[in-house]
Symmetry: C2
Subunit: 335 residues, 2 copies
Amino acid sequence: MAARPTMKDVALAAGVSLMTVSRVVNGDRGVSPQTTARVEQAVSRLGYQRNDNASHLRRKAQTTRTIGLVVDDLANPFYATLARAVEDEAYRRGYLVLVSSTNDDPRREREVVLAFSARQVDGLIVVPTAGSHSLLKAQMAQGMPVVCADRPARGLDADTVTVDNRDATRKAVTHLLAHRHRRIAYLGDQRDIWTLRERFAGYQEALRAHGVELDPGLVRHGLRSRAEAAQAVAELMSRQAPPTALFSSNDLITVGAIDGLGAPLPRVALVGFDDFPLADRLPRPVTVVSQDPATIGGTAAQLLFSRIDGYQAPPRSVVLMTRFIARGSGEIPPP
Amino acid sequence: MAARPTMKDVALAAGVSLMTVSRVVNGDRGVSPQTTARVEQAVSRLGYQRNDNASHLRRKAQTTRTIGLVVDDLANPFYATLARAVEDEAYRRGYLVLVSSTNDDPRREREVVLAFSARQVDGLIVVPTAGSHSLLKAQMAQGMPVVCADRPARGLDADTVTVDNRDATRKAVTHLLAHRHRRIAYLGDQRDIWTLRERFAGYQEALRAHGVELDPGLVRHGLRSRAEAAQAVAELMSRQAPPTALFSSNDLITVGAIDGLGAPLPRVALVGFDDFPLADRLPRPVTVVSQDPATIGGTAAQLLFSRIDGYQAPPRSVVLMTRFIARGSGEIPPP
DNA sequence: GTGAAAGCGCTAACAT
DNA sequence: ATGTTAGCGCTTTCAC
């Protein structure tokens, strides 16, 4: 467990001054080939590596070439794909990425943002929790570039990358209405998350546009797992007047809904938000609204780096399009 | 874009010395309540945050409370889940995590490990690429704790967390043999990856133990995508004497194999390494060998932190058990 | 209880 | 072409 060599050690070993070592290590011109060779030899003999933290501390442009990424849950394939896209964009620019999941807990978000900021990250990409964001606001006021991905942060004027949640849901539910469904259940995740409020709003708008009154008995919010979704669907289907169609507000709930329908599959139409692997290979291929997390992440990273590079202008809001993919489950007519 | 306040600024604002601010910020005792209050007020008025990098640089125990995680591909649900488990373990200990994907490219691994090391991470968790690992070796020699996850690094004596790849595959193929299959195809990923060499070895061992000669025509290595796997299976099935059973060496290939079988599904048994969502809900539920990436990641993190905490002993190798899950596709007898 | 001086590992600015 | 000095933001050490 030998202590790491420093520039001082290299200077001593090479018989030059510390400054000369610095020049060689940083590739600055103005060092004779002979000296350069001597220093490089000492570097490799000692296994010297520059301490980037010390370097960043001293440099004029106080930049760490590190960004922070705060997501809901890294294990969720959606955020994992988003994270990978961010990471690739960062890698191309020679930046490193600190990541953390929040589990949608505002307190944990707060801790993580503080920790990242204390580490002097050059910018933050955040999938904001449902809470308030006074901290992020304060960070931005101090000059920290912040980009929101997947959803905006309440009351925060920052660059944002989202998809057309409301519009896409309206179209999806309209698709079911066009197939003559009138009892369309809504299967929702937590209602305090922006994306889900938007999706529910789209559901309501579609019904209203078709003169269909919303039946509160067909609406379920707060489904947090596949099992909860399955349970909710089983209950809905055993009602006096069961729904003839289901709209599911994310991939997890869609899969749970299929669980809840059981086998053999009853005659119920199903459209889900989010595409998922094998949706096309299930016994009844699933019609979905598909969004592209890689593009969301990549776009967020580009916005962030433009700010880091000094771009000054009012916040931009990028809305990416979703794709409606009809596979069968959404095209079943009512009984 | 105001420059961030430093301790000096806070000291000036509170009318105390820089040292007193440091004491208050770090919660050291020995500061009068009145002074503490004055300093705290100045801190919050200026929005002061300690620069952790500077702090770490000067501290006696030169530790950054940051670890590096290097995976094959963060967008792959397997590694995403592993990463999440590492992150949780780090969070519990107040550590941050730098992540990067390598795409199994040894050069990129090299770059990333160097970058992490230059940032003074306290330790590394690596899913090693197939290449040589002289760099990791050098890092360890300089006192950097390193843990390998999912597979060992060739020629590197480090803590390692893996699963019983060979054994599990032997059992899976034996399962097919027990169902009287004799023409069992092997669908493999890149052969230079350790896990896949192990799995292929298990396949060979099972055949040998049952006196079945290996038919090279039934073995496909190097399948790198769902599409390539589908193509390979389509070719295999159109042979003079097609296989009656398939062993697939990872989840991606298993799904590709199902694609390649087409519809209606021919009478072919299928067992795959890796479980995947909805494997139980496909028209023919898929029999799999299931491993648990969260436990792999969590265990790797625990091993790493024990080293960071100073545990000194020869490298430990933890082998986690897989689970065989029979769901139907692997229990189909030959025609 | 509080502060002044030194220095972590490095680079900017100015010598020579 | 090379070296010296100062100092990034902070903590250690020692003095008062």
